[in-house]
Symmetry: C2
C-alpha cells in the first residue's frame, strides 16, 4: 500500500510553509557547547509540537538542557515509533567562512543555508510536519508517535540516559526513527542502521607556570613538543591506534553484513571530491576507507591551541597547550574501559602530568537490516524513490542510540533527506529544497509499512 494521494498532495502543497518553519527554528541559536539560546529553543520546539496538534512538555534535570517530550497517539494502535531528534546545534566557527549568517537561514540556488537546517532542526521540523500532514488529512498518524527532542546531542547527550531512565514509561517504544538521514550523490536514499560510539576528551599539557620568552627554549620544556611526542604515539601512519588493547573487543562484521557492505556504494570516494582531499587518511585504499567508515575505530584531533596564534610573529614559549580529541568506537568497545586504557597508556609512557578532561562517553549501537523496522524503511525507499536504497550497516557518526537500544531493545533506523554535501558541523550547512518533500513521503511510507507489517521479534 502506498501513501494516500491526499496526503502526498498536502505535503506537496505546504512545502513553502514547511521551509519557513525550518528557517524559523534554525534562526533560534541553540549552541549546546556554549549553551547559547538552548533554553529559548526548547520553548520554541514545544510550541511547534503544540502547533501541529501534539501534546508536549519540557522535562528538566539539574544542569541539563531541557528535553522536549511530545506525542501524537493513534487510537488502538499496537505499535509506537519514537522520533529521536535534537534541537541543539554545533558552534558556528569559523564565522568568516559562512556566505550568509549562520542564524539567518537563506535560500540560494535551490538550497537553504544556515546552522542546523540539516543537522538536526531541518529533520526535526520535517518530521513534525509529516505528522501534521497525517493529522490534517487522516485525523491520526499510522501508529503511535512519540517525540524525544534533546538539547545536548552535539555535546555528547550527557543527560539523555538519565532523562529516559527517570521517565522510562514515557519513552517506551517499539522502534526509533533516528535523527537524520541522507540521500546519496546518485539520488539514492540511505537507510542507516547504526552509529559509532565516542570518547571525546581534552588533553592539557602544562610545563610552565607562565608563558616565557622563547629564548629560554634552550633550557625550559615546551608543552607543545611534549604533546607532539604523545600524539605521535597514539596512532601509526596507517591510522592504526597504538593504545594497548584498543581493538580487543572489536569484532569483524558478520558474513551477511560484510556482504551488504560490499554490495552497497560508499561515500568514501565522494568525500575525497567534496573535501578536496588528495587521498585517504594514512594512505588507506578505497576498500579500507569504506570499511573504516562503517566499522573502524578512529582517533581524531578536533582542535589544538597553544602559544601565540595571532598575526605576525611572537617569540614565546607557551606554558600550556590544549588538544581536543574524539575517538569513534564500534560495537562492544566500552568507553569507560577505553578511558582507563588511555590513562594507563599515559602513565606507562611517562605522561602522567597530562591532564585529561572527559567530555563525551557514548557506546556504539547497531540495528540488524533484517529487523521489521529496517525492512519497512528499505521497502518504502523502493516504493517512493523507485530504487533499491543504500543500506548502511552503520553510520560513521555517533549518537545516543544505545540509550533506547539497551533499555527497550528498540530497533532504530536513520532516514532523511540530507544531500551528501550538506556541510553539517561546518560553515554553510545546507539542505536541498527538492529533497525535503521526497524525504517526508519516504518517512510516511516507512511508518505505514511498519504499522501494517509484523511486530518486533521479541
Amino acid at each position: 500500500m502506498t501513501l494516500a494521494p491526499a496526503l502526498k498532495e498536502y505535503i506537496h502543497d505546504n512545502q513553502d510553509r514547511f521551509l519557513r518553519d525550518i528557517a524559523r527554528l534554525a534562526a533560534q541559536p541553540s549552541v549546546s557547547a556554549t549553551k547559547d539560546g538552548v533554553e529559548e529553543c526548547a520553548l520554541l520546539v514545544k510550541k511547534m509540537i503544540e502547533e501541529i496538534g501534539g501534546k508536549a512538555q519540557l522535562l528538566r534535570l539539574d544542569g541539563a538542557a531541557p528535553l522536549v517530550y511530545g506525542e501524537v497517539m493513534r487510537s488502538g494502535a499496537a505499535k509506537t515509533v519514537l522520533f529521536y531528534n535534537h534541537y541543539d546545534v554545533q558552534p558556528v566557527e569559523p564565522l568568516e567562512l559562512w556566505k550568509s549568517p549562520p542564524f539567518k537561514p537563506e535560500i540560494r540556488d535551490g538550497r537553504m543555508y544556515g546552522r542546523g537546517v540539516s543537522d538536526d532542526k531541518g529533520h526535526l521540523v520535517a518530521r513534525l510536519k509529516l505528522i501534521e500532514s497525517y493529522l490534517k488529512v487522516n485525523g491520526e498518524p499510522p501508529c503511535n508517535i512519540k517525540f524525544c527532542f534533546e538539547g545536548e546531542e552535539e555535546v555528547g547527550s550527557g543527560h539523555l540516559d538519565e532523562y529516559v531512565a527517570k521517565n522510562s514509561e514515557l519513552f517506551k517504544s517499539d522502534a526509533v526513527l533516528w535523527e537524520y538521514g541522507r540521500i546519496d550523490a546518485e539520488g539514492r536514499p540511505v537507510v542507516s542502521l547504526g552509529v559509532k560510539g565516542m570518547m571525546y576528551m581534552e588533553l592539557v599539557v602544562r610545563t610552565l607556570n607562565q608563558d616565557a620568552h622563547s629564548m629560554y627554549a634552550a633550557a625550559l620544556p615546551n608543552p607543545v613538543w611534549r604533546l607532539v611526542k604523545l600524539l605521535n604515539m597514539i596512532k601509526d601512519e596507517h591510522e592504526r591506534i597504538l593504545i594497548p588493547g584498543w581493538y580487543e573487543r572489536v569484532k569483524a562484521l558478520a558474513g551477511d553484513e560484510l556482504k551488504v557492505l560490499k554490495e552497497e556504494p560508499s561515500e568514501a570516494q565522494d568525500l575525497l571530491t567534496t573535501y578536496g582531499a588528495k587521498g585517504f587518511a594514512g594512505g588507506l585504499s578505497f576498500e579500507e576507507a569504506r570499511m573504516a567508515l562503517v566499522s573502524g575505530p578512529t582517533a581524531n584531533i578536533a582542535g589544538i591551541l597553544g602559544g601565540y596564534t595571532g598575526p605576525g610573529s611572537k617569540t614565546v614559549l607557551p606554558a600550556e597547550v590544549r588538544c581536543k580529541m574524539d575517538f569513534r568506537l564500534v560495537p562492544e568497545q566500552d568507553p569507560d574501559e577505553l578511558y582507563a586504557r588511555f590513562s594507563d597508556f599515559l602513565s606507562s609512557n611517562g605522561f602522567s602530568d597530562v591532564k585529561v578532561e572527559r567530555m563525551t562517553m557514548e557506546p556504539a549501537a547497531r540495528t540488524s537490516y533484517t529487523s521489521p523496522w529496517a525492512q519497512a524503511a528499505i521497502r518504502a525507499a523502493g516504493q517512493v524513490f523507485g530504487v533499491k536504497p543504500v543500506i548502511e550497516i552503520s553510520s560513521p557518526g555517533t549518537g545516543p542510540l544505545y540509550v533506547f537500544a539497551r533499555r527497550y531493545n528498540s530497533d532504530a533506523v536513520d532516514l532523511g533527506f540530507a544531500p551528501p554535501d550538506d556541510a553539517i558541523h561546518a560553515p554553510n550547512e545546507n539542505i536541498r529544497l527538492d529533497y525535503l518533500e521526497k524525504g517526508m513521503v519516504w518517512m510516511g511510507q516507512t511508518l505505514e509499512n511498519y504499522a501494517a507489517g509484523p511486530g518486533r521479534k521479541d
Copy 2:
C-alpha cells in the same frame, strides 16, 4: 675615575620623573606584529629625544616602521657610542592573565608593570635620561652619543639593515650599547656580549578544502596528525635538531670563552624556579642547559592552532593547522642556508605540501669579552655594584647586532637593569624601581671608562 657626585645626585633626585616618562612611553601601544600604534610611538620617541636636548629625525622606508635617529655630540670627542633600542613591543595576549592593563603602567610593590616597561621602552627611556643628566650637569656626554631606535625589533628587524645601509655615515660608531641588560637573582649586573640569530617561520598544513564532520576522520586526512608527524621528525627527545646539516657550521666555544662560561653563574637554575618547570627541556643536565642557553641552537614551537578550540566539544575534522616556530641560531649558522636545508628536509620526507612562510631571518653575533668596550662595562660594574659582574658570552635571545657588527666592526654590549623575573614577552612584564637608578649609574660609568680608555683594536 668614578661618576661625579653631582651627576649621581641628579640621577637620584629625578627618579620619579624618569619613571613617569617610562610609563608615558609604555602607555603608547606599539605592537609591531599588528602595527598597532607604531607610528604614534615613533613620534613620541622623537619628541622625547628633543625634550632632553638631542637632535632627532624620523627615517622612513616603504612598508617599514619609522626608525628614530638621534644624537647628542661632545665637542672634539674621539669616540662615538651608538645606543641601539627599540620602541616596538610584543603582543599582549593572553590579556586575561595581566593583573593590570598592559598599556596602563601601574606601580605595585616596588615594581612597575606594563608592556614594554622593561623590553625595551624602560631601557630606552633610562638611556635618554642618562644623557639628559649629563647635559644638565656637565653640559655634554662623555663621548659622542647616537640613538638608533627602531620599531620592528619584535618582528625580526626586517628593515634595520636597509636603514643602516642607506644612512651608513649616520650610524657610524665605535661601540654599540645594546638594547637591554639584566641584574641577576643575586643582584649582580650582567654584561652580555652577543645574541643568537633566528629563523622564524609559520608552517601551514592543509589537507581539506573545508572543515569536515569528524565522523569522516575514518577516511579523510587530518592536517594536525600530519603536522604532528612532521614536528616529531624535527627534534629528538634530547633536544637535538634532526634536520640534516643543521649543526654543520656550529663551532664549539673557544677555550677562554668556555672558561668564562664555566666560571660564571647561569640563570638556568633560576629559570626552573621562575617558570615552575620540573626539569630542563629534553632531560638536559644543568651543565647542558647552561651551555645550551649560551651556545646551543634551538627549535621552539611558539604557537599552534587548528580546529575548534572554544569551550566544550565540537566534533570537527579541521581543514588546516598553523604552527609558528622559532629556531635560534649561533654564530656562523646562516639563516638562508638553514631555510634551504629545512625546505630540503620537507621535500625529502614527503612534506612538500606543507607551506612555509618566512618571517624572520637574522644571523647571530658576538663581541669578545676582551674588547675595550666590554672591559669598560666590566670594570664599571665593579665600580658601581662593588662586585664582579656576570659575563655572558652570549644572550639566549636574538637581536640585529649583526647589522652593526658586520658593517662597522663595532663591539657591542648589553647593559641594563632588568630583574630576572621581568616577564618580558609575557603577561605582567615589569621592572624593579630600585634597579633603575643603579642601572643608569652603571651605564654612565661604562661610558666614562670607555671614553677615557683605549680605542678599538682596528
